[in-house]
Amino acid sequence: MLFPASITLLLLAALLTPLAVRVFRTAAGWMLALLPVGLFAAFLTHSGAVANGGAVTWIRPWAPSLDLTLAFRLDGLSLLFALLITGIGALIIVYAGGYVDDARKRGRLLSFLFLFMAAMLGVVLADNLLLLFVFWEMTSIASFLLIGFYNEKEEARRSALQALLVTGLGGLALLAGFILLASIGGTSSISALLAGDHVAGNADLYVPTLLLILLGAFTKSAQVPFHFWLPGAMAAPAPVSAYLHSATMVKAGVYLLARLTPVLGGTVEWHYLLTLAGGATMVVGALLAGPQTDLKRLLAYSTVSALGMLVMLLGIGTELAVKAAMVFLVVHSLYKGALFMVAGAVDKATGMRDVRVLRGLQRLMPMTAVAAMLAALSMTGFPPLLGFIGKELMYEAKMQAPAASDFLLVAGVLANAVNIAVALITGIWPFTGTRAQAPEGSIRSGPALWVGALILGLGGLLLGLFPSLMGNVLIEPAARSVRAEQVDVSLALWHGINPVFLLSVLTVILGVLLFRLRGHMRRFAEWLQVPAVLLPAKLYDRFVDALPATAARLIAYVQTGYLRSYLFVILSAFVLLAVATVFPLREWPAVSATGTLPPAAVVVVLLIGTATVAVIASQTRLVAVTAIGLVGLGIALLYAMYSAPDLAITQILVETLTVVILLFVIRQLPHFKLLSSKKTQLRDAVIALLSGATMTLFALKAADMQLEHAISSFFGENSLVEAYGRNVVNVILVDFRAMDTLGEVTVLAVAAIGVYAMMKMRNGKKEEAR
């Protein structure tokens, strides 16, 4: 019950947050953070069971015919992520509450953050591919809303759209991949796929499945060549960058890869694709970080690099590599979340983010400085922080990689050296020395702005000193989920002086050197940025620019704007398709079988016929509309005669409203004139007669057909028994086929919005013309 409840509670929080902000005012962040703190504790209580190899599940059917169930499952991997999401989430909520001054905006930001938290929790808890996909898309939408939070800025809107398009495209591929995977495994239940011994690697469709799923994971986790949206996402407020674009959402792709490793992994394709993409991302991220001078951008590109490392480790896939990936996941979430929060606090206090100018901030914001240094030291991999353990494990995994270990090591050392330089530039340098210039604006660094970063920084220190705290409880069960076998995890801070330690020392020396020569590094990295690295972003721009023009051309071709041409197309398509369907049936309906009409019906039919002639012959629109209304009412009468009262009422109401609406519209049209040539009139007459004849034929044929199992008898028999209703038509609408009705009502909504927008735009244009 915990899983659906946790997600529902978070969604409710998203709805009620604006209200909470009004009640609690500036304390809203602190109060609202209680929810994720509670969830964190609740998840923690399950850690014992999960560590012993158990898994907590909750299953309810959703749409069984689609193999879609509301299935949630908590195992080692899910637990690790769930704790990160709720734990860091709580700190971010506090931080966001203090970060945004405007009360209305604060409510909106917190609301979106809760929405995202619910979606992300859904992704890691879902035990059904389709359900996971639903939450996956929810994270994309939440991310769009959050990146575009400052929607008055053009850059924010552009970046939000870019992130949505890139991850949305990946999402589509992912859905296709999931469907293929479900068809290979015969189920869309993830735990069943993991438990089954059908290794997808042997399936015929393995390669397309893998490629599609990787496309989804790579776009989400900003792997080359889809890395470019992540730095753009830095247009979001700092709490968002700290939460979504470093600690959690971008790791959804990593989660997916880890989750599906037992099913999809272990093949040559898996190994090479992941190692290559991850390695390339690691290097490109480091390369792009080089020339940056903006605090947030530096951190963003180093995040790209870190995501590359994670994917690469999963690609190597050995026990050691998976272990390293899980540890580094925690390490990175802790220090990157903290550094982004620090960056936001610095930006707020000084009004700038240029690392060339920021200096001596430790006097201004001492607590933030402590947090920043702790996080930065963990990022450099300095003992005794957790980052040290992470880096040692990573080097060890690369050394023992089955292939190309030398290459991986060199790339790893280089990327890590750049990361160390970034850590020194962003976390240490601004908080040492003396201030070069007085900061502008007000300085209000309340505890909300540093408490989160400090907790994350201290967490890195604590877990570094006592690595066994999480080794057995979190890392081992998580690694076990990925490897699908027993994994021995005993984390230790000190392994003695060995090749791995020497590599660490070398990296630190290189990193410090890069930091000292950072002016040169910037120029060098700028020179190194060959077009190939920047190409994907340029291609994206060109694609997006070309899209509206192409769409406009297509629309100009398809949508003429003339009602008569639409009618022409619709009716002729109907005639052609209907004839093509009925013709092969050969047997034409026997007209005589319809029996004789009662005299009243004859009168009504004559009325309809006369009215139809009147419509055609009328010289004014008013007469035509009235006559059309008459036709409709005649049909309603027929319905009533043949005992279909619901249809009759509906028809009367629709006719009435149509006539009313037409009357309003007619008054704005120019005078009625006959502009069509004789030829067009003839063509239209033929189309009209043909479609009328086809419809008649269809109706007769339908009455003539003897189906073996008439569905109407099912509805008739079960209406009262199962749905407690005697009116079968209504029961079908609201119960048996309620999903169709819901779809239809949605169509109504879309149509209404369309009409509304069209009329408003027309009015707007008119205003301009005046």
Binding site: R60, W62, L70, V731, L733, V745, Y756
Partner: protein, 144 residues
């Protein structure tokens, strides 16, 4: 359009039509009627008012933006499909309980009714969104 007869008729007819629409909505499960029909009828009450006294007055009578009605109706219909999940049944499965009413005996009450109310509200919202946007232009030009 300024017809005194129509205005007076509309003033007395509109409440009656609205009541009738509610009756149609609630009896729909057993007799001809239902949310769609009821919604159309309710919308026609306001359309009649718009026809007689102008859309401004009809909009004031409605008090809420018809677009909000549309959204509310959709939400109600969608929410009514969820209780089934809580009781472990397939999404959309109707959930029923029997409410003992004085005089009337046991009265079955279920989520399909909520669904139908959603349809009712959404149909009103849909129709009136279109009617008002069309008539608003009309009155604007009449004034000019």
């Amino acid at each position: 359009m300024n017809s005194l007869i129509l205005q007076i008729t509309a003033r007395y007819l509109a409440p009656v039509i609205l009541m009738a629409s509610l009756v149609l909505l609630f009896r729909g499960h057993n007799y001809p009627g239902g949310g769609f029909i009821g919604g159309l009828l309710a919308a026609s009450a306001f359309s009649l008012h718009a026809l007689a006294s102008g859309s401004e007055k009809a909009q004031r009578l409605l008090r809420v933006d018809p677009r909000s009605l549309l959204a509310t109706g959709l939400l109600l219909a969608a929410v009514s499909t969820l209780p089934a999940l809580l009781s472990g049944e397939t999404w959309f499965t109707g959930q029923w309980m029997t409410v003992p009413l004085p005089l009337l005996g046991d009265f079955p009450l279920g989520t399909p009714l909520l669904f139908d109310v959603g349809v009712y509200v959404a149909v009103i919202g849909f129709t009136l969104t279109i009617v008002f946007v069309l008539t608003a232009r009309d009155t604007e030009e009449d004034i000019r």
